[in-house]
């Protein structure tokens, strides 16, 4: 999920501690903010620290002026073959191709699991918002393939990976007992930083540090807020595709997520933020002697969450039906127009629809 979603969820979790809410109310304490801070901390650890200290066996750094598509495909295949031959994990980093202050050349990596091949496609120029400039593809070889000496495990992520802006993605190829190679995307992400044990450890650490200052009995609440905020993040991430290493250091491998959503999906993010906000509001009212206490949670929840969600759903359905009708109408019109005339409508739009993938989102 997005950073704000984790942050607000951590904050909402903190408001479930009556003592914390009362401290915020009567002592001008900032304790609830800790819930938010530790709610976003797992991603902060990975994206602001861990990624820079990862060592790679292979680094792909294409020439910005003459990117060699075949060389990229060969290096990727070599890394996988090397992992298979040596029986040891091999990692590879793909650097981006920077063409200007706000200009990058995109390239895409595709793992053909059935035919044991990797395919690289050199794409068009994009800006830092990943908006494509159509018609800017390179001259010469745009697509290259390389054959693998081994089989790849079925992927848990979308098969095609885009390399476009800022720092590029990385993979770690891990040999499996059955002779296949498992692909670990962004291997530095969601390891110990996304474990329940790390949350517990940080909570205890927070309790100890603050205990010397505030007294160990008083500091327990801080430790609980820290751990809860952290755990909420870890558990929310299990809804996606990547999963995480939940019980590090007792477990070594990442679990697979429930695949219920991509972290960049708008509706789940919005609904979670909304749910967190109404829970925060309810808890603040409940634990701060306000007139909101008189309202039952069920009534409150129905008015603030179920009814708005129902309305949103209805609007969404109406829109879908209307869009389908419009599409059909357009298709009918287009089929009546000669092909040459159709091409006028294909003038590049300023903005183009892009695929939002979990890994891309976390990476951005």
């Amino acid at each position: 999920m997005k950073g704000l979603t984790h942050f607000i969820s951590g904050l909402a979790a903190a408001t479930f501690f009556p003592q914390a809410v009362q401290m915020a109310h009567t002592e001008s304490s900032f304790i609830l903010v800790l819930g938010g801070i530790f709610g976003i901390l797992p991603d902060t650890i990975d994206f602001k620290f861990a990624q820079f200290f990862e060592k790679y066996h292979y680094v792909v750094d294409p020439d910005p002026n003459k990117p060699d598509t075949q060389a990229i495909a060969n290096t990727l295949a070599q890394a996988i073959n090397d992992a298979h031959a040596s029986g040891k994990p091999k990692s590879i980093l793909f650097n981006t191709i920077k063409k200007g202050a706000d200009l990058w050349r995109q390239y895409r990596l595709y793992f053909d699991i059935e035919n044991s091949k990797v395919k690289v496609t050199m794409g068009p120029l994009v800006n830092t918002s990943k908006k494509v400039y159509p018609g800017t593809e390179i001259e010469g070889q745009k697509v290259a393939e390389a054959t693998l000496n081994c089989k790849l495990c079925p992927q848990v992520y979308d098969k095609e990976t885009h390399v476009d802006i800022m720092g590029g993605p990385s993979f770690c190829f891990v040999p499996q007992k059955d002779g296949t190679i498992k692909m670990d995307f962004l291997s530095w992400h969601r390891r110990w930083s996304h474990s329940l044990t790390a949350g517990l450890f940080l909570g205890i650490l927070g309790w100890l540090i603050l205990g010397f200052w505030l007294g160990f009995a008083n500091a327990i609440i801080y430790g609980m807020v820290i751990t809860t905020g952290f755990w909420v993040h870890v558990l929310e991430d299990q809804l996606g595709y990547m999963g995480s290493n939940l019980l590090w250091p007792f477990t070594k491998e990442k679990t697979v997520g429930t695949k219920s959503m991509h972290s960049g999906d708008a509706m789940p993010n919005f609904c979670t933020v909304w749910l967190a906000l109404i829970l925060i509001f309810y808890n603040l009212g409940k634990y701060s002697d306000s007139s909101l206490q008189e309202m039952s949670f069920l009534v409150y929840f129905s008015y603030t969450f179920i009814v708005p969600l129902f309305i949103l759903n209805v609007i969404d359905r109406i829109l879908k039906q209307w869009e389908m009708g419009t599409k059909e109408e357009q298709n009918n019109k287009l089929s009546a127009v000669p092909v040459a005339a159709n091409s006028i409508n294909a003038t590049p739009s300023l903005h183009q629809l892009e695929t939002i993938k979990e890994v891309e989102d976390n990476f951005g």
Partner: protein
Amino acid sequence: MEMFGVLAAILAGTLIAAVMACLPALHIYNVAGIALLMALPAIKAGIFPLSIVIAFMMSLVVAYSVLNTIPSIFLGAPDESAVFVTMPGNRALMLSKGYEATMMTGVGSLGGIAFLLLIAPVCPIVLPYFKEVIGPHMHWVLGTVLAFMVLSEWPKSENREKTSWKRFFNAWKNLFAGLLTLILSGILGFIVLYRPLMPIDMSFQNIMPTFVGLFAVPWVIQNMLSQTNPPSQYICKTLDVDTRLFLRGTGSGCFGGMFAAIFPIITGGIGGLLAGHATAQRDDRLFIISQGASKVVYYVGGFMLLFVPGVLMNRGGMAWMLSGVYQPMGYGDYYMVLGVIAISGALSFVLLSFFSQAIIWLIKKINYRLISLFTFAFICIVIYNMGGWEALALMAVSTGIGMIPVFFHSRRMNCMGVLLIPVMLNMAGYGTIVANWMGLL
């Protein structure tokens, strides 16, 4: 007769604000403050009925919030609430689509106005609860916003250096710069709030040179130094926006704008930032529409809160100014204000198209860097007239801080530390302690 007066006030307010919005650095609160000072004797003498004053001031806010995108996109001189539009707006400008981007913010603004009118009947029921519950918790809410601003800024490096530490430090350049900007802005905020430099008669404009220096001047300087000239602009007949995109953009903008309108010190820019994160936006169009909605809901919604019966919430500069001469009178005034918002909003949208085309004509005729130079000179003259050399010096210092994000590509919103840090600490009761440490008391 009074109705015609109100209509005339709407027309006048909308037109004046439309012109003012196109001039960089002239914030409508400053203009309204001066106008209110001048009109005060006439108001007290009963020459101007309060309904006309209210209609005039609300129209000023509505038109300003709709049209202030123009200097952001075409002149690169945003006010704080429109600072997020500048980047995608500038991209669109360089692709000949500045007009389309401007009209997209207009569409978002219309959506924002429709949202405010839709929620108006519910406000008198919900807001008293809200005020009661959230009131004692403002300090940590501001702390939360501050913490999120710091933590949600991610490294912007290419991760290409040979050693891990080099990669780390290169990536952290923009994060360190962001932190530095936030801390320096916070220190500046303490100085400005505890030791105002503006003359007594202009004390209500105290923060203006700081805001202009932090947000507008760095963009203008960047434009002056830049070697690029925008290409000729395409005046489109339709917008590349469908219903779903409009609803998503407007929805997220209203969400952020409402947050900013209700909580003190949280501005439209911060609201827009939160809205973008809340709905996982990845499309420039969506972002631009949401920013249009966010700033309208922030400005207009904030001022509207003054009129909500039984709530008594003063949010934003305009509400503070008007509350000196006006007390909320119940549903009559409330519904009149809603009417003013609707009429002025519709007029502003039409004027947005007109003024955008006028600016496009201007940048076609005159060298863009020359326009930036004139913009800079104009800003300096306005600030000098308001507070003399002291105000210009304050603007220069603020510009120095505002330039840090420009050089290091960090988030400009960190400059909001100028208000967030001192006000948050004041609300928590630590403000005077810090001011004492700094030797300001």
